[in-house]
Subunit: 158 residues, 4 copies
């Protein structure tokens, strides 16, 4: 059975809600999903998953330091995430507030790990974004993102 | 008298409306503003201004080819924009649709020209963004951006 | 038989040489490769390929206007590149000269098309880069990139 | 007297050497410079400076978590860095290894603080970069960056 990890940092609960919406739609595709607060995840756990999805609030245009630390710690097994699926999502206070740069910084890190990333031609292109608390639009983007990730896992991970 | 150029590409009229709102609030500060469609601007005109502000719709995550061509053409006087003020704004169809990457790509080009750029700690941080037609929120961001640019011109350009 | 397109813009010939090195190593994996100057490619041709690889010199931190125009033109069949493989490479005059931003801007556009992108944990992470004329290091990165793309095509495209 | 802070994270000493080269050329312009390891800096100290220059090794395409934490902590005085000068530099193991994205992520954070940033039309455009230990080319870029920052401080900070 394929396994996906969603790891998030969330102070207000907004990013956590997004994580849960993504998880819900991945599960529907019969993929095991673990949703974890970044504080409970150690880098050593990452290689056990077929897909890693990271979510962050937008702090100064990029991911929270806690998520960056998880990435920095992952250097000890650099190369072991190669060929795995990666995806990212973000919440922010404002529309032009850094959501996209946050997501793309996580995606850059995933590319450096040799991971495989796919965009979306219809929905939030780089990954789901929410302005403040996720409204129905944002949750729909999260669910859409979840099913797309599930399809990609099935296509790529044997 | 200080002079600012706002150059935009606009098919739907959305980006043009943003340009006009920015221009209006720069003018209030007694700075001469020229608002031009990119088709009417040649690169040779750029060095005549104290500030250059570029606006684009979001086409595949970055500026329209027409604006990129203006930048490519500007290589003939590379170095002559050094120390001038730069700023960018963008419109897009979706919230997570590439507004920020469009603005930052223009800002990168301005940095490569040696231009001076300032962000905004309260409003749209990198530059004003509009989702589809500019609503009151977006127009207010444009006006705010205009007065901030005017203040920066007065501070930096002697 | 799988088909890949390498489309480049090259004034000095540097980016063209990179294109040829990538093509050479893709061909070794029995994948048909077409190497084309952007001036000879129309957007309508893109959906015929399993993988699209774009190469550009670094002009003001991003791709040449000619490549941007090809992307802008591709909007007429938006959605038809979904699930295809994408990759990018760049040449620049200086080390800190915008190679990475050029590659990532192309990758962003590919994500917006719904394409699939993979990074490299060992070589040039986002895509092959060359400082001025490609030296042996740069050509080796191009060949490495070609074989990785070939492997990804075989994995993803049925 | 104007005051600049250079704050860096350095494990190998490469980024530290760059910091010292930048500091040296700022000092020549009669500006007081403090060069500090990020571990010794608390966010509360930042508003005391006219310019803040941050340097990082390239960890997964962006700044080290330690520097990100300093930025995250700075939210408590958000708005107080407005109008100050910002600049960034980076070292990395490879040429296409994330130097530019590291620098631009720091610059994005500075823009979100409302800081003023200037690029360089001749040298490393976004900020000085070093591939592994800084060679003479990299050190020259650092010194050049230092004198440009000094000139900008004198122009902008009254």
């Amino acid at each position: 059975m394929h396994k996906a990890l969603i790891v998030y940092y969330s102070r207000s609960g907004n990013t956590k809600k997004m994580a849960e919406a993504i998880a819900e739609s991945i599960k529907k595709e019969n993929i095991e999903v673990s949703v974890q607060d970044v504080k409970e995840v150690s880098a050593e756990q990452l290689p056990a998953y077929d897909a890693i999805i990271m979510g962050s609030p937008t702090y100064y245009g990029t991911m929270a330091a806690e998520l960056k630390k998880l990435l920095d710690d992952s250097v000890v097994f650099h190369g072991k995430l190669e060929g795995k699926i990666g995806a990212a999502f973000a919440s922010s206070a404002n529309i032009g507030g850094g959501n996209e740069t946050t997501i793309l910084d996580i995606i850059n890190a995933m590319l450096i790990h040799g991971m495989i990333v796919q965009g979306d031609p219809r929905g939030d292109h780089y990954g789901a974004v929410s302005i403040s608390a996720p409204d129905e639009r944002a949750l729909q983007q999260c669910r859409r993102m979840g099913s797309r990730i599930a399809a990609l896992i099935k296509k790529v991970s044997k």
